[in-house]
Amino acid sequence: MSIEALGRLWATYESVVQFVGLNAILGLSIYITLAAGQLSLGQAALMGIGAYTGALLTVTWGWPLPLSVLAGILTAGLAAGALGVVVLRLRGVFLAIATLGFGAMFGILVLNIPLTGGAEGLRPIPSETTTWQIYLVLALLAYGFWRFDGSTFGRSLFALRDDEAAASTLGIDPFRTNLIAFVASGMVAGLAGGLSAHLTRIITPRDFGFESALEILVFAIVGGTTGFAGPILGAALMTVLPEVLRFLPLEPGAVNLFVSGAILLLVILFLPGGLISLRRQGRAGSDPRASLGRRAGPDRAATLHEDPPTPLPTPLPTQPMTSPTTGRTPPPSPAGQPSLGPDPRRRSIPANAMPLLEVRGLARHFGGVRAVDGVDLDVRPGEIVGLIGPNGAGKTTVVNVLSGLVPPSGGSVRFGGIDVTGWPAHRMARLGLIRTYQNIRLFAHLSVLDNVLVGMTSRLPPTLGWSLLGRAGPHEAAARRRALELLADVGLEGVAGRPAAALAYGDRRRLEIARALAAEPRLLILDEPAAGMAGPEAGRVGTLLRTLADRGIAVLLIEHNVRLVMQTCDRVTVVNFGARIAEGVPADIARDPSVIEAYLGPTSVDR
């Protein structure tokens, strides 16, 4: 092909290349919110805000391109922030619809403001954006996204996407994190808008309507949302596609709609991770699950429904605290137990101190159901308290209320002398109240190491700046070292790079405990940590808890395994029908008639 022919080819397709770049930037903008598990259909309107701001400044006051684009970015970011403050308490479909409503309102506003030119559009806008500018911006963004994966912020987003409740009980503030993501995504959309307005010479409200909003979403979905390369790939494919179809010997017409619809359908049905999942299938174990598994619910409580029970492991891991995956036994430490680094802060707390956790008359009603109805509970530093009761007694609800996932209907909770009644989960976690889950809630798409690092997130200063410089930074480096130590303690250091979802059942339990310890708990609440474990194994759990308590950590243990509770706990509280029926040292509890009755006499206390 001659130089001249190449030149023609470039002249023909330069605009396609430009639109690929612009659409890739748009795809990245929705990727930020999708990374946090939020579906926003307001991207087109945010793009429009950037486009109109930039274009008006250029056309009316003759601002130069970079300045007016910058103004567009800021305006769109502000708008996204304002929108986020209002809509971010919604989730799933409801958030999508609210943002869609925002988009519709934006369109109506533009039509009614004389400054914008209404339906006839704003024109003529000088065509100043060049191909290299678009790709410079795209390259910078792509670099930012690449680095962002390894920062505290990136991990917080992914953790929220995988499991919002688990992330918030590790100290991540869902609202704040989502809001930052929203603003960032608005700014990127505004950037795309400013660049695009200065390319197409005219902007009209229809360019930023419902269809465009869906189109942007399609870029991200077709490409995949598990990595920043996905939306870029998706944008490239969907933008080039109509141009390729021009060459098929077909009458121009509805066939384009057919092909793009069919591609979308095939991807969502057979390639839920999008195009980039093709590349990933080779390594790191395929991950057939798409990235956005969130139930719709208008409010936060709805996301707290229980997951399907985790299938019991078959076979049960024979060696507790040994990773079947690595086949390694944790390094022996004095008591044959995980060696946890010294923690002077904890040790300074005297064992007979004031209760760390004081619960009085705690109640939680669901409609007419009194799931918890007047529970009192004290836990002191260094003490192991058991919370037992028959199935449905309200134990898990107590834990959900204490950890801040569910607000109490009544009663008071004090932690470390502070009244924390009704505090949200992330604030409880930052105070040092950390919990695990009965059904194990790991961040399935994050690596084992990243799971532990998420546990530390709320204790680390933001590391995004260092990440962008291409370095780990001192805090990140220290955090990684500590995380690897914790993993070594539970025998998982050999699988640090694997996705958490790929672990065996026993390993997942261990990882969840390591993750909780990474958050430096003052009070550790364990919801049935020995579920599915055989006798000797459960015993090891008990020894681990004792080690932790000896270091001054308060432990609240919810267990069905009554033998474990009796052997390990200093004191035991028994609840039934939402209320406390007994409290005392294990020996007394075992003799308490009301407890025996609650457990229906003959029922084995050792299942």
Binding site: Y13, A119, P124
Partner: protein, 380 residues
Amino acid sequence: MRHGSRLAFAAAVMLAVAACSPSAASSPPGGGAAGSISAKIGAVLSLTKGAAVYGTSQKNGLELAVKDVNAKGKVSIQLVIEDDASDPQQGITAFNKLINQDNVVAIIGPTLSNTAASTDPIAQQAGVPVLGVSNTAAGITAIGNFIYRDSLTEGQVIPQTIKQAAAKYSLKNVAVIYGQDDAFTKNGFDVFSKALAANNISVVDTETFSKGDKNFSAQLTKIIGLKPDAIVASALANEGTAIVSQARQLGFTGPIIGGNGFNSPAVIKNGGPAAEGLVVGAAWNSASASPENQAFLTAYQAAYGAPPDQFAAQAYSGVEILAAAIEAAGKAERDPIRVALATIKNLPVPLGSFSFTADRDADHPPVIQIVKNGKFQVLQ
């Protein structure tokens, strides 16, 4: 990696093959007599999404005209039609393809004025003449000396319509309804407003609607309650028909006045008896007895089994105008065609006796029609 690279490779191959192969043409080089001038002309039309109904009509008009022109044997046109999916971005890429890859000597289109604002500067820069056949927005031909159009703007049609209707129905006050989210109907509203003011007709109420609306009863009830002498509507055919039907259902008996958007047989066919008495100011007189128009009506009906609308008539005329310019230029080259277009004077086409103004806009008398007995007739 495997699948990903295969896909990328396939795309690259398709692009490369596409780049090297001659482009698909929707009509073969005409079998004109020896000595005829061969010309490859591009057209960018909205064949899918929002404006598909107009683009499809234009495509019919263009293809019919190419057949007729080629049959005459003086110019042999090869037409390459591209779809812009009612989207300026795709319009831009379609223009670039036609200009650089297909090497067309002129481009007809695009369907929408807003797309033209994006695409026509490209053709201007590349030195390719463009003939808009439906762009009515202000400032399109001001983009440059390569940009022409054969479509009368609302500004060239409506003032006369209002003047004539005002005299005939002695209008004192009217109510206006227009589509606020469409460039054409919004522009029509602006022109109507000016014309009404110029004729000292007061506007008792202004109502709006959105593209795709089916129900206008709330707006019309409000309008009818104010008892205007007439309703003035700036709408495209689909919404326009519904407005007329619903106004009659709600008991409005006065005249209803519309612009170019109403000049479609669909208004009469779908509106039925409700369309009777509708006054339509338009660029094309479908009832014109001129031989060019009659031949066009007959040929169109024969080819597509339905009567043409104004979009088809303007597209058809556009091909004839381009063919005349090519003939006058004596060769199918871009700049000579541009020069020759300016010399077109009183060319008989279905639109009437056609010339260009000095600003490359269409220049031919508009028509004010009224629907009578299920037909458009010239308003007397």
